[in-house]
């Protein structure tokens, strides 16, 4: 039997060759979840029966020769992507008992590819956070050090993949919520170009920024998952109608010792200043040396307005959230207070009880910036600065193909360290939010460890629709290095 903790590409090969059955694989991973998740709290819901029944269906399809490309691969979805027949809580008391009548588009795509749904992963409430601490279901722990956060908001999926409880998972990324937890948990994560993955069935946080994407052990696995998640969907008006791409198409090409010859990697000086932990800076420098070894060239450049991306984000995201979350009013779904007076009182009490402190804060900030007399000074201004930031990137891509730097300024921080200071928490997004504002793709891959043994992530950003190229670059790096193969001690097979 092959190791059940292997990456998706290897598992898929073993399943197709019948060296491993999906039922064996799924059962083995369910056992790992039962053993390790009581400590990690990566899952909100695990459905053993459904997982095993999906797994036998996959085994039957493999035997019959009708299997999809990811047949029998167990996965977990971030608990903000709705799943018919399995509750979707968004990590909130508001939706603690909510089960959607339908599947999200990306959930359906992965189901059609043959994957096995194991369960739903923990997150910051409504994906609003960078540490996975604000969930109604308790904080997620980092498998590399249980005293630390796994990053967020997709921290449950990141911790589950890092601890090899599932080989892959989904996440959503509004300001870094796939890439930052991937970095802090020592795995890979990709935020695709805005519009590549339909947002249908992704419970909306900030509609002009939200994008779903995969988390996995390797860049190759990200490509395999993205193949099943991408594609046009008329139910999301922002879903792009483009020809289907195979994101794995170049990964098998034989290119010799310099597979990245001709590649220009942009290094914005704003990503290499003070504020970044020295261990992180050193690991990034060493990764860049490896890229040069593989044939890439590095080019220095400037993104003068990128430092404004955090303040821009904290106007636009709360503004859109305050509008999106107005749907939670205790009328059509979700929590309704037990005692109330008139209709307005019912809304106010249901929302006060149903939402946690950070979600309320963001709704209040958003309400303020959109309120009468403030719109031009805040929301309109933020949209103008958003354009200036996008212009910086457009100029940068005239002299480089991708942009590299750290995914986060530090490695994983202690649970509770930033919970009392929202601004300190927000500044953790400094390197990731720009890609959401511009809508361009970005990914994070492991590239080293700090002195405490905590993983460090390298971020690659690219121009619109550069996913296949970026995944190829990350794949070549992973063929030459083994950071992505390291497993936390608590999760040793």
């Amino acid at each position: 039997m092959s190791a059940i903790t292997a990456p998706i590409a290897e598992l898929a090969e073993a399943l197709r060759a019948k060296r491993l059955s999906s039922v064996e694989l799924t059962q083995g991973l369910l056992d790992r979840i039962a053993r390790l998740d009581p400590v990690l709290n990566a899952f909100i819901t695990v459905d053993r029966e459904r997982a095993l029944s999906d797994a036998s269906a996959a085994d039957a399809a493999i035997a019959a020769g009708t299997a999809g490309p990811l047949a029998g691969i167990p996965l977990a979805h971030k608990d903000i992507l709705v799943t018919a027949g399995m509750r979707t809580t968004c990590g909130s008391r508001m939706l603690a008992n909510y089960t959607s009548p339908y599947d999200a588009h990306v959930v359906r795509g992965l189901k059609r590819a043959g994957t096995v749904l194991v369960g739903k992963t923990n997150l910051d409430e409504f994906a609003m956070g960078s540490s996975s601490e604000t969930s109604h279901f308790g904080p997620v722990k980092n498998p590399w050090d249980l005293r630390c956060v796994p990053g967020g908001s997709s921290g449950g999926s990141a911790a589950a993949v890092a601890a090899r409880l599932v080989p892959g998972g989904t996440g959503t990324d509004t300001g870094g919520s796939i890439r930052q937890p991937a970095a802090l948990s020592g795995i890979c994560g990709l935020k695709p170009t805005y519009g590549i993955c339909s947002r249908y069935g992704l419970v909306a946080f900030a509609s002009s920024l939200d994008q779903a994407g995969p988390l996995a052990q390797t860049a190759q696995d990200l490509a395999l998952l993205l193949n099943a998640m991408a594609g046009h969907d008329s139910r999301d008006s922002t879903s792009l109608d483009r020809p289907t791409e195979d994101y794995t198409r170049t990964l098998g090409e034989e290119r010799g010792a310099k597979p990245l010859a001709g590649l220009r990697i942009g290094l914005p000086r704003e990503y290499f200043g003070d504020g970044t932990d020295p261990d992180t800076a050193k690991a990034i420098d060493e990764a860049l040396a490896e890229f040069r070894q593989l044939g890439g060239k590095t080019v220095e450049l400037a993104l003068p307005r990128v430092k404004l991306s955090v303040p821009v984000y904290y106007v636009i995201a709360p503004a859109e959230a305050s509008s999106n979350l107005s749907r939670f009013d205790g009328v059509r779904y979700g929590h309704r207070a037990a005692k109330y007076g008139d209709l307005t009182d019912m809304y106010r009490k249901s929302r006060a009880e149903g939402f946690g402190a950070e979600v309320k804060r963001r709704i209040l900030v958003g309400t303020y910036v959109l309120s009468h007399g403030y719109y031009d000074a805040y929301y309109l201004k933020a949209q103008q600065v958003r354009r200036l930031i996008a212009d910086d990137f457009r100029r940068a891509y005239q002299s480089c193909d991708v942009i590299a730097g750290p995914t986060a300024p530090t490695t994983a921080f202690r649970i509770g360290a930033k919970t009392d200071d929202p601004v300190e928490m927000y500044l953790n997004d400094i390197f990731t939010v720009a890609a959401n504002l511009t809508g361009a793709p970005a990914l994070s891959i492991p590239c080293g460890f700090d002195r405490s043994g905590l993983p460090i992530g390298l971020q690659l950003q690219g121009d619109y629709f550069a996913e296949a190229r970026m995944l190829d670059i990350a794949h070549r790096f992973q063929q030459a290095t083994d950071w992505h193969r390291r497993i936390p001690a608590m999760a040793a097979p």
Binding site: S100, P101, S208, L209, S234, S237, L240, D241, G273, D274, G275, R305, L308, P311, V312, Y314, V315, S326, D329, V331, R332, Y333, H335, R336, Y340, G341, D342, L343, M346, Y347, R348, R351, A352, K360, R361, I363, L364, V365, T367, Y368, V369, S371, A377, Y378, L380, K381, Q383, Q384, V385, R386, R387, P409, D421, P422, V423, Y426, L427, I430, N436, G439
Partner: protein, 105 residues
């Protein structure tokens, strides 16, 4: 990158602001929590108010990550009737209607 300093020209968030926006947002905040909420919002606006110093004269606002026209579709009914399914998750329904406190005397 260093923590930004507060823009001195911006007005601090007051308790009256907190109560006004909490009412607009339909979130009950009791008197005991109001000061803590105010202080944290004020810190967040300290970050946001950096934007005031940026010259954006003549810059077209960017509303959307891709400047594409939203697609139009034919004006045809495509949805099927899912009322019972959707109402099955509602807190209170009767005869296909959502129940709320009386709004008309």
């Amino acid at each position: 990158m260093a923590r930004p300093s507060r823009n001195p020209t911006a007005m601090p968030i007051s308790l009256a602001d907190v109560h006004r926006i909490a009412l607009l947002a339909r979130i009950e905040i009791d008197a005991g929590q109001a000061e803590e909420v105010r202080a944290k919002l004020d810190a967040i606006f300290g970050l946001i108010n950096q934007l005031a110093a940026v010259d954006t004269t003549g810059v077209e606002p960017m509303a959307h990550a891709q400047d594409v026209m939203l697609p139009l579709r034919a004006d045809r009914v495509t949805e099927t009737d899912c009322r019972d399914l959707y109402q099955s998750v509602a807190p209170a329904v009767e005869d296909g209607l959502y129940l709320v406190p009386k709004v008309v005397e």
